[in-house]
Amino acid sequence: MKFVDEFRESSIVRKVADEIRACVDPSRRYSIMEVCGGHTHAIFRFGLADLLPPNIDLIHGPGCPVCVLPMGRIDEGLEIANDPNVILAAYGDMMRVPGSRGSPLESKARGADVRMVYSPLDALRLAESNPERRVVFFAIGFETTTPATALTLLRARERGISNFFVFSNHILVNPAIRALLEMPDMRIDAFIGPGHVTTVIGCESYRFIARDHHRPLVVAGFEPVDVLQSILMILRQLHEGRAEIENQYTRAVPWEGNPAARGAIDLVFEPRESFEWRGLGAIPASGLQLRDEFGAFDAERHFGVTRRAVADPAEARCGDVLKGALKPHECPLFGKGCTPERPIGALMVSSEGACAAQYNYAHLKTTLTVGASDRDVATPSVDR
């Protein structure tokens, strides 16, 4: 498959991994955060940590939209779906994410009309073909999915559709990075930048990370070669004392991003004063709400949703894991009370969450390292 196979080609992967090993300074540690859940998934999916020297720590960041969505928001969405006149449309990612009273999938099993859609346009189509029902799109995601929601709303307005609503949970990546950088016990040396988000927001938007916080960020693609190459670029910056924004993913990401997509977002959305992130708490100007001009499509206004604050259990140490202060398996709930099937904390929710990724792909490898007879398979544990 073009644009996939070349970037998984063994000989190239090995070559980049060799370069990383040759480049590291064995006398120091490196803490590198991959911001995006897609990278977390790729790192575990391809076992990339196995290829890295033991003094490189990969810290799995907050870039998994369903993981950081507070349970209260899910409850609010499902409360809307309890109205028999409502069809709630959501991405597949959302379907298994639990609120305090179950997930969208469980709501559906109990009789709510919850549909999985691939695009907000599918939800708009549902509204057009069910004029007697009200269709609510449960919008989630960073700047990657926001333009699609914005364009759908523009189209809904153009066509004068009055039974289509958006429950906006769109969030912004940079306020979250800023919040992490301002935490006192933050231990991150550099960032692997989110590839898909950057196709929209552009590389320049990360300037503050280099300028104000003196941390390198390299925007990366999602195949093994991409991730490793971006790590190599980061190591070189750190060794040369540079803190710059670089773009490894040039085949997909133009430096300036996509101004037209940003324009659509600006037309439809405005930042909320503050938005709650599961595991990180409230972050100023980190979420998007519909502008007044689009108020007629705003599910929160139309359905008069009551705000529900649902606290995560105190034992769940999601915030510490996100900051890099704690490894997923060091959390007292990891794999015990909290598993992908019955997640308690945010990061166990989606396969892109740090804890779920670790649970699904790596928790057994510790055993493997300790007990294996076959050394060529007994690779270093990823949860160093």
């Binding site: 076992g47 597949g92 999938l105 691939y118 093994p224 792909y361 490898k365």
Partner: protein, 347 residues
């Protein structure tokens, strides 16, 4: 055959949800935590695709399955094909040749008879292709809205090849794990045929009888054939995890050898689904001794429809119950059982 498998799994769920039927961990909890303890007996405790029990000098295999697929027809097949092939295949991977099959229909009031006729004819064709007799049946009609048009249950009875001793206790480190051909076709076809994703492709379900393939393996290997299972709900990943658990071994899969058609791979990449978790209706996994692996592959490839058979990986001693994927470049990951149905990832 083997000593009954004892399970420590308890079933504490308060309500049945869709994951209980998806073939992954929740299904397993339900079966091992509720059904098996309640019906406690040595045959059931084997937890194989079909129950195998002695009858005179023969060993018989019996299996039952209900078909509730939506939509009823999809590229490459329909519920009628599945209802026969699925049951025939459960017998086939038990090392049996099917003798007779029963068919029960649960029909929703209002079902168009054209559809029913089409499905009954599909069943007749699939039965003829597999060389099996549909010997008895039952019909129930439920109110409109109580079923998706048509549900079918089939039960199959077969005679087990006397040369075989299949079972997880025969699996030992060093054994080779084979898969009969490209995976994921059926699950991706159904996902796309539901029309919710607005994706189009020419992928077709792989629904077929695998009887000729399992026969070829039996003839070529005899007792060196150790274990077989068809990779339906939950996909190959689930089957491999069951193998690792039941046999008390680990399984190592070579990532680059996993056979997936480009179109299925493309859809999986796009949707963020692992092909190993996608359902198949015409592929199975087999474990054979290391010495017989080449013979097994040649035998499968000589059968029309078996050209895509490959050695997927091998059995090792531990860690017990784990399945690993290893790429050529040296990355290792854990291949877990599916939790619920595979859902597309968008954001």
């Amino acid at each position: 055959m083997n000593q009954p498998h004892t399970s420590s799994i308890t079933f504490a769920d308060s309500h049945i949800g869709m994951p209980h039927g998806a073939g992954g961990q929740a299904t397993r909890r339900l079966v091992e935590g509720l059904f098996i303890p309640a019906f406690r007996n040595a045959v059931l405790a084997e937890r194989s695709d079909a129950a195998v029990f002695a009858h005179g000098s023969d060993r018989l295999a019996m299996t039952t399955d209900s078909y509730v697929v939506k939509p009823l027809a999809f590229p490459g097949g329909s519920i009628g094909d599945l209802a026969i092939n699925g049951t025939v295949n459960d017998l086939a991977v038990s090392g049996a040749d099917p003798l007779v099959v029963s068919a029960s229909f649960i029909l929703e009031a209002g079902l168009d008879v054209t559809i029913l006729r089409r499905e009954v004819e599909a069943m007749a064709r699939a039965a003829a292709a597999a060389g099996v007799t549909i010997a008895t049946g039952d019909t129930k009609v439920v109110e409109h809205g109580k079923a998706d048009g048509l549900y079918i249950n089939t039960t199959g009875l077969g005679r087990v090849d006397p040369r075989l001793q299949l079972g997880p206790s025969r699996v030992v480190p060093g054994d080779q794990v084979l898969v009969s051909g490209p995976i994921g076709d059926h699950g991706i076809t159904i996902l796309l045929a539901r029309g919710e994703l607005d994706l189009e492709s020419d992928v077709r379900s792989d629904t077929r009888s695998i009887l000729l393939l399992t026969r070829a393996l039996r003839d070529a290997l005899g007792s060196e054939l150790k274990w077989m299972r068809d990779a339906t709900r939950g996909g190959v990943a689930t089957v491999l995890n069951e193998l690792a658990d039941d046999a008390g071994v680990s399984v190592f899969v070579s990532e680059e050898r996993i056979p997936v058609r480009d179109v299925v791979r493309g859809a999986c990449e796009l949707l963020g689904i692992d092909p190993l978790h996608v359902a198949n209706e015409g592929q199975f996994v087999a474990v054979v001794s290391r010495e017989s692996a080449d013979r097994a592959i040649s035998a499968l490839r000589a059968v029309p429809g078996g050209e895509g058979a490959v050695v997927l990986g091998e059995v090792r001693d531990g860690p017990v119950g784990a399945v690993f994927g290893r790429s050529d470049f040296g990355g290792t990951r854990v291949i877990d059982m599916l939790v619920g149905d595979p859902l597309p990832r968008i954001c």
